[in-house]
Symmetry: C2
Subunit: 213 residues, 2 copies
């Protein structure tokens, strides 16, 4: 077995992930046939199982990758930045700066988060599920710690950092349920509106947003 | 066939719905076996099919019932009430005034809303799905029209009623994803926090909340 050392293996795996994101995001996870993902990347259904144990295993890997990336983008923009308000504005601008493919991936992440709540019998599915849960908690924790630090530095008054983190993530996540990349409302308008809403929760003014971002 | 006229039929159907809400809300929809719902209400799995065509049919009926009830509670509190701010405070208080069973039902409604996006082959499933979609849109529409009226009467300034309605519903729905009736945080504290957040989005002060509710 040299499959793990095959440089094509990694790109095939990435192609499967991309095809699955498109299918899950457009047709829904439940309604997607695993064989259609195989057809999209031009492999037989059996070949798919070299990469993922099941459709659910692939879903959890997709969710985990998205969470790791969102977490590291948050970290890059906030870590060691003493300007908490500036960092917050940059994070909110970054949240909405997504490609069509990322918008679909965010929808999958939000629409299927309920599946992460329940243990899986298969060890590989369970491992991917545990990772996705860990990284979900880490994002919430990173937001909470950021808000604690912002409160301590008196940049933003935050009475309840954990609930505030949940409210911000709740409002942000809700967008992806109804947002369609080529829908009637453009992302800039939605971004401006939701950014203002999140800043209102933190009792910050929305006006200086454009300069800071 | 006299089953439809049997007074016991209605109560058995209600018992199945209640058992399914508990199962779907606690164990997750995907992880619930239809046969376990049957066992919970003391009927055989085949008997379940007298009432629902499938687990998914039952889920869509549960979601639709919840949406109809939430919509009519909103209507009762807002219709013909010229005091828009008072009506809003009453609606927010009412949103969080839920039993453990209703909290579970809300979790099912939010966790499985993605399933409503995709057509079903079975006519009965599809009919229940269409009703649940209609009533989802009606709640969003009722909130939007309420905000339009509140803006017209100059009680609350609302620049973008539709996005504001979505933000309010988004923040409200997000609670049920993580809220557990007997979790570490009590509902009163969560209610006060999220009500203040929603009022902040509308640029209203949270203080007079307790008197008004």
């Amino acid at each position: 077995m040299t499959a793990d050392r095959d440089p094509e293996r990694g790109s095939k795996r990435a192609a499967i992930i991309d095809a699955a994101i498109d299918r899950f995001g457009s047709d829904g996870y439940e309604h997607t046939k695993w064989a259609d993902v195989a057809a999209d990347v031009g492999v037989g259904p059996t070949a798919l199982y070299h990469y993922f144990e099941s459709k659910q295993h692939c879903l959890f890997v997709i969710m985990d990758q998205a969470l790791v990336e969102l977490g590291s983008r948050f970290e890059d923009l906030t870590h060691g930045n003493p300007d908490h308000v500036g960092a917050l504005r940059a994070v909110l601008a970054d949240c909405f700066d997504v490609s069509d493919h990322e918008a679909l991936r965010n929808r999958v992440l939000v629409a299927e988060q309920g599946l992460l709540a329940h243990p899986c019998a298969s060890p590989r599915e369970e491992e991917a599920r545990q990772l996705a849960r860990l990284h979900t908690r880490e994002i919430e924790r990173a937001w909470t710690l950021f808000l604690v630090a912002a409160d301590e530095s008196q940049a933003i008054e935050v009475e309840n950092p954990r609930l505030t983190a949940r409210a911000i993530l709740g409002i942000y996540n809700s967008i992806w349920v109804w947002f369609r990349p080529h829908g009637r409302m453009d992302l800039d308008r939605i971004t401006a509106f939701f950014t203002a809403s999140i800043l209102a929760i933190l009792e910050l003014e929305p006006e200086p947003f454009e300069e800071a971002a």
